[in-house]
């Protein structure tokens, strides 16, 4: 009698625990699911980088975009600027390894020279945009510690609000990001909104994804806008004409190929 009552108690206690657990899912698990890597081996696309000043000025840069993930976990990306004429021929190559030894190379056609960019400089602006080298790189799950801070409904959808804090002092230093809050769609696990705070915990940038395209089993962000709240400057990346698994040769992702531009 006594035993069974204890058993009941223990069982209901466990049930409550389990329910509680189910209601508040683990933030790291959500982010792991949201950032699971792409379902394709390689991708090529036409990319537009639009730079807007707070005063209404606009510059559009057209880029040929190539990316490839190899079996050993190396993820490669090549961007080649096609227009306007003053940046035409500029090439940007990144080779990212799972261990975090990233290599970035920039080819400057006017100097006819490839420059290696220090891996510790991920916080630098990419081609005068508000996107940093870190922003345009492969998302790195283990760089951040995640906490679920709430739920919110926007435009009829519900989102997990997840606070991402830099996991190490180096990541804080490199990215310049003191905190990122991400809104993860509870159903699709897409992340359409993010707010980025600087090292002094002041709100710095807002990143909105305006469009997704379904490729295989993944929703690929095809239109992203980042707005610098402190300068009023904003930048947009648009992808179009996306093709996956075209068999892009490995040689595309070498320094040798980077400077082969006329």
């Amino acid at each position: 009698m006594q035993n069974s009552r204890l058993g009941y108690l223990a069982a209901s206690f466990l049930l409550i625990l389990a329910l509680g657990y189910a209601q508040a899912p683990d933030a790291t698990e959500i982010m792991t699911a949201a950032l699971t890597s792409s379902a394709w081996k390689d991708m090529q696309a036409d990319m537009k980088l639009i730079l807007r000043t707070g005063r209404g000025g606009e510059r559009v840069r057209e880029v040929a975009f190539f990316s490839k993930d190899s079996e050993d976990g190396l993820s490669c990306m090549l961007m080649r600027f096609l227009a306007p004429a003053d940046v035409k021929g500029t090439g940007f190559l990144t080779l990212e390894t799972p261990s975090g030894d990233d290599e970035r190379y920039l080819y400057l056609p006017a100097l006819r020279r490839v420059k290696k960019i220090a891996a510790s400089g991920s916080g630098g602006n990419f081609m005068s945009s508000d996107f940093t080298y870190y922003d345009i790189g492969e998302p790195k799950l283990e760089d951040w510690n995640y906490t679920l801070v709430g739920e919110e409904s926007r435009d009829g959808r519900t989102y997990y609000m997840i606070e991402c804090l830099p996991a190490t002092e180096d990541i804080l230093k490199d990215t310049g990001y003191g905190k990122i809050v991400r809104w993860v769609d509870q159903e699709t696990l897409n992340i359409p909104y993010s707010e980025i705070y600087d090292r002094g915990q002041n709100k710095w940038k807002v990143l909105n994804v305006l469009g997704f395209e379904r490729i295989g089993k993944v929703d690929f962000a095809t239109d992203m806008v980042v707005r610098d709240l402190q300068t009023g400057h904003s930048s947009e990346i648009q992808f179009s004409n996306i093709k996956v698994d075209q068999g892009i040769p490995d040689v595309y992702f070498t320094v040798r190929y980077l400077q082969r531009v006329r």
Binding site: A110, I117, R260
Partner: protein, 314 residues
Amino acid sequence: MTVKPTCSLLLTLLLAASGTAQLQTNGYLKGLAYVNPHSGSYERLGTRLQTRFTVDWQDRMGFFAGINYEIDLAESPSDTTEQSPSDRIEIKGNYLLIYPVEFYLDLHTSFMDLRFGQQYIFWGSTDWINPTDVINPWDYENLSSEIEDYRLSVLALRSDMYMGDLAIQAVLVPRFTPAAIPLPPGTIKHDRLLKVDQAQYGLRLTSYLGATDVSLSYFKGYDPNPTITAGYDPSALSPMSMEATMSPTQWRAGISSARSMHSPSRAKGPGTGEPIVAATTRLSGIRASKRSWAWIISPRIGCPSIYRRCMKDC
């Protein structure tokens, strides 16, 4: 002229491979107005059209030609006889000048890239001041912010090989191109073509140590800056005379390195990876015909980011 067989060879190759070729054309139009602050007159006044043709054959072969068409109203028609820099191929008419900035053929094999033609080859790892940057002479007559204006392209054969992080470049420059220097009218120039066995050549190794670009180079050739001598003969019609003579044989070896870095700043810079420290050193040996060698060391160390920060604080 040695250029003719080269051109016809290029043309034949172009026609032969045009079936699978991808042709791209683009260009730009630019206004030119340079005022001489002393006289107040225009040094140049006109426009430039640059057309660029690129042909690619499936990542195996490529051809590029960049041609400038310039109209300069400040240039008086009587100047058309004036010698142009570097014996380059050009068409010159009243106020009009047409010349190729670059034209070359590329061949890509599995282990090597070859480029032959009129081209730019810039050595050294630092952005602007590179004592090891010795192949393309300067054009001191053409003041401009564009590298294609103040450097002269040279006819060269260049090969590049890549082994992991190491890049090996060999360069052969069969024709000597002197720097374009504004000399007083009447200066006698001695800078004619060299014999085949006097061709210039060089080798360069480039690699990366972490985020530091390092390059080692060796070049044997001639200083593009001529030796200028002045003479005085009171009995002559014009007693002052000047002569520009080609400088003697030189070899130049050097080491150059630069470390680029981005700081997580909010500055809207060009985003090109500003070097934090750049160092370059050149050792030159100069030998005037059969006399002893003279040695020159030209080291340069720069720290552009600190300089810029100081400028900002001031």
